[in-house]
Chain length 180, copies 2
């Protein structure tokens, strides 16, 4: 079967601070035309950070899209500094959000977060051997964060009770559960 | 700590077929103003469907946002028909995409897929006791799909090799791995 949708033309209908929105005209395999809404977003990293007490780090933060406080694993967009230095990017995010640095970082998996309408590509890492940082990096001045730590059992209960409602965080918790 | 970002005003800058884009002006806890880009999207369901041979169902499909073919668990947007009838919605999605119906459906978890910029809310279900449907529902005429089935070990290898790059699908695979 031929699946390809040929991209015929594209128009940027919104250029924002963290996203651009494109309307793409595509030709379907059957020759018909269709339009696709596409949200362009920078790649991002997220970190399952497990401390020396075998607890994971969660950050409390406000999320405007759902007008609510959430609990999420540390995460952030990549920027130009991060070309070829993923470990640096992850330790920067950890430093900014948690004030820890990790002595041992490995990739868990990479994925598109909302593939139906966006190209945001995220890589999830496992970070262990955490130690307090010597030099604290400045935090984004429009971001308020507070850290908590939870065990695997607590985390799984917080998924069931919908205290945790963020996909990357729940994914990281399931992955952690497979590590036992 | 006070986290709340008060919503001051909001403007819809794009109204599309599957998304609307809003620019929200918010007041931060420190009194400063900031803007937030927000992509509004319908809620959705996704299904970890495991057949009688203990294989999961994956759908091959084209995804315009990444201009590539993907492998994903069955999923779809909810619509007005689905108020209060989630099982009906899931069996409709399964019917349209896989031509199976499930005799046993349970909720795994619910989450925001891309909480940094979107309100898309998805619920992941586990569907077992699959049987071929009697009456095939019509498929969306701009959607081409092909079904494959894989074991858990195959699925985990396909995550590592980046043949599977869809977050909800990888999350479902990790969840499946915890069920062993």
């Amino acid at each position: 079967m031929n699946f390809e949708e040929k991209q015929i033309e594209s128009k940027t209908v919104y250029a924002g601070k963290i996203i651009d929105v494109e309307v793409m005209k595509v030709e379907l395999p059957n020759g018909k035309m269709a339009t696709r809404d596409i949200v362009r977003h920078m790649p991002a990293v997220a970190v399952l950070a497990i401390n020396n007490e075998n607890k994971m780090i969660l950050m409390k933060q406000w999320r405007a899209p759902i007008d609510a406080l959430t609990l999420e694993i540390p995460a952030g967009k990549l920027d130009d500094r991060d070309q070829g230095d993923m470990l640096g990017a992850i330790n920067r995010e950890l430093n900014e959000e948690t004030r820890y640095r990790s002595g041992k970082i490995s990739e868990i998996s990479s994925f598109y977060t909302a593939i139906g309408f966006s190209d945001e590509y995220m890589t999830l890492y496992l970070a262990t051997e955490l130690e307090p940082v010597q030099n604290e990096l400045p935090q984004d001045d429009d971001e308020n964060l507070e850290m908590i730590t939870v065990t695997l059992d607590q985390a799984l209960m917080m998924v069931n009770s919908k205290e945790i409602v963020d996909q990357k965080t729940i994914m990281a918790i399931y992955y952690w559960a497979t590590m036992k």
